[in-house]
């Protein structure tokens, strides 16, 4: 039974994630549509529920094109390299007190480490396409992801200091009284900004800035390979929203002692709010400029994240605050 679950579990998760991606895309289009005074997709299926299914089907039956002067093997490798880490990071995510695949001691570190591999996939994709826009997009992506990984990691150091562990379960358990969003507010803001940037979403969607670089690193991709890039992007939304929930919003813990709902439901509610916030930001903000993006990471976010660490360590020793830190 355990062995069966060991193999079957990830498959089930994969389908859950695919289902999420399908409806996350639809929800994004719907939400942005409503914000913009439109209805959003409503033609395929009731309320457009089958729209993404139709889109994916279209992508699957599309001709598989590879540009003549592209580096064929790298061109094929890139989408896989971009997608696999996005799914692999889900292994350590505690969705509820019982649903988790790998409860490892360095869960947080594992997440951060594995997710950076995607950058290589994007860079390879941009380079192998042999297209100037793709190259620019790939370069931007590499610069951006590397710059923003540092504030992202540093912003959660405060939590690690408080909990004294990198294990995600222990981090959730430590939030039974107070969610970390309150004591770690600076860390939270830095984390949210850096994570939006890691996700390559507006206002940090420079690698695929459609009004500048047409589509950026995936400009030459079509059909199934393009679907993989899209899939990676949305699985990361799934992963990053989960991580935000786990780190700052108390994971499966119920707020105000409202324990009549099971932990997983609370997790989903918090998770959905984070996802909605991402859509909402996307519908509102313009795109930041590439040089300002770098300045922002190194000159604003990094000092803030460092200050947060210092404040956390100091407050840990102050009598009253020890309760929260």
């Amino acid at each position: 039974m355990d062995a069966l679950l060991l193999y079957l579990g990830p498959v089930i998760l994969l389908f859950i994630v695919l289902g999420f991606v399908t409806y996350a895309i639809l929800a994004e289009r719907k939400v942005i549509g409503w914000i913009q005074g439109r209805i959003g997709p409503n033609q395929v299926g009731p309320w457009g529920l089958l729209q993404t299914v139709a889109d994916i089907l279209k992508l699957l039956i599309k001709e598989d094109t590879i540009p003549k002067n592209a580096d064929r093997s790298l061109f094929k490798l890139a989408p896989i390299l971009a997608f696999v880490p996005s799914f692999a990071v889900l292994a350590v995510m505690p969705f509820s007190s019982r649903i988790q695949f790998a409860n490892i001691g360095v869960g947080l570190l594992y997440y951060m480490a594995i997710s950076s591999i995607t950058t290589i996939g994007i860079l390879i994709g941009g380079w192998a396409s042999n297209n100037k826009y793709a190259l620019l997009g790939g370069m931007r992506s590499a610069a951006q992801m590397i710059s923003y990984e540092i504030p992202l990691v540093l912003s959660v150091v405060g939590i690690v200091l408080t909990v004294g562990s990198l294990n995600l379960n222990e981090i959730v358990a430590a939030q039974q009284k107070t969610w970390f969003v309150f004591p770690q507010i600076i860390g939270f803001v830095v984390f949210i900004i850096a994570s939006v940037s890691e996700l390559n979403r507006t206002p940090f969607d420079l690698p695929e800035a459609e009004s500048e670089l047409v589509a950026g690193y995936h400009v030459e991709y079509s059909g199934f390979r393009f679907a993989f890039f899209m899939l990676a992007e949305y699985v990361y939304i799934f992963a990053m929203s989960s991580l935000t929930t786990v780190l700052f919003l108390g994971g499966w813990n119920a707020p105000f002692g409202l324990t009549f709902l099971p932990g997983i439901v609370w997790f989903i509610i918090k998770f959905a709010l984070v996802v909605f916030f991402l859509y909402w930001v996307r519908a509102t903000m313009p795109r930041i400029r590439v040089d300002q993006l770098m300045q922002f990471a190194w000159k604003v976010l990094l000092p803030l994240a460092l200050a947060n660490i210092v404040i956390t360590t100091l407050l840990k020793e102050v009598p009253f605050f020890t309760l929260y830190y």
């Binding site: 409503w34 914000i35 439109r38 909402w280 930001v281 509102t284 903000m285």
Partner: protein, 153 residues
């Protein structure tokens, strides 16, 4: 930060506002009366004065007349009347000059076809296009027969 917050507030408020899109093509779009759509042509009214052909800026109208079959009557009657909708820009000048309102605008605007050849509309097709005809048309009415015409002053 404040500006960004204000922006988020605006978008959130707009999310619950009523939507402005039309359910076209499921529900046909109602165009105002003056809308310049595909022409309707009434062969009985045409006096073959050729004004529409001369005024057309893109030369998309071609017509031929023949002698009136009724020997009592003078003048000509229309034989063929074609409008090439590949190049017609629906500028309204032909209906403006037509003294008898033989060619008038309708509110129909759907012209898409799978072949360019189908955009070449002849007299019969234009006569059959008799729905949603515009009420005001000519600026150039025949002096005696139509005292008020469509002159909008």
């Amino acid at each position: 930060m404040l500006g960004l917050m204000k922006g988020l507030n605006v978008t959130l408020k707009n999310m619950v506002k009523p939507k402005v899109t039309y359910n076209y093509p499921k529900e046909p779009l109602k165009m105002p009366d003056r809308f310049r759509g595909i022409q309707y042509f009434d062969p009985d009214k045409c006096i073959v004065c050729n004004q529409c052909v001369r005024v057309c800026p893109t030369d998309c109208i071609s017509l031929t007349g023949k002698k009136n079959p009724d020997p009592e009557q003078k003048g000509k009657v229309i034989d063929t009347y074609d409008i090439n909708f590949e190049i017609c820009i629906l500028c309204d000048l032909c209906t403006e000059v037509c003294p008898t309102e033989a060619v008038v605008m309708t509110n129909n605007f759907e012209l898409s076809t799978y072949s360019r050849d189908e955009l070449f509309k002849n007299r019969e097709w234009l006569f059959a296009n008799d729905e949603n005809i515009r009420s005001e048309n000519t600026l150039n009415p025949l002096p005696a027969k139509k005292p008020k015409g469509g002159s909008p002053s």
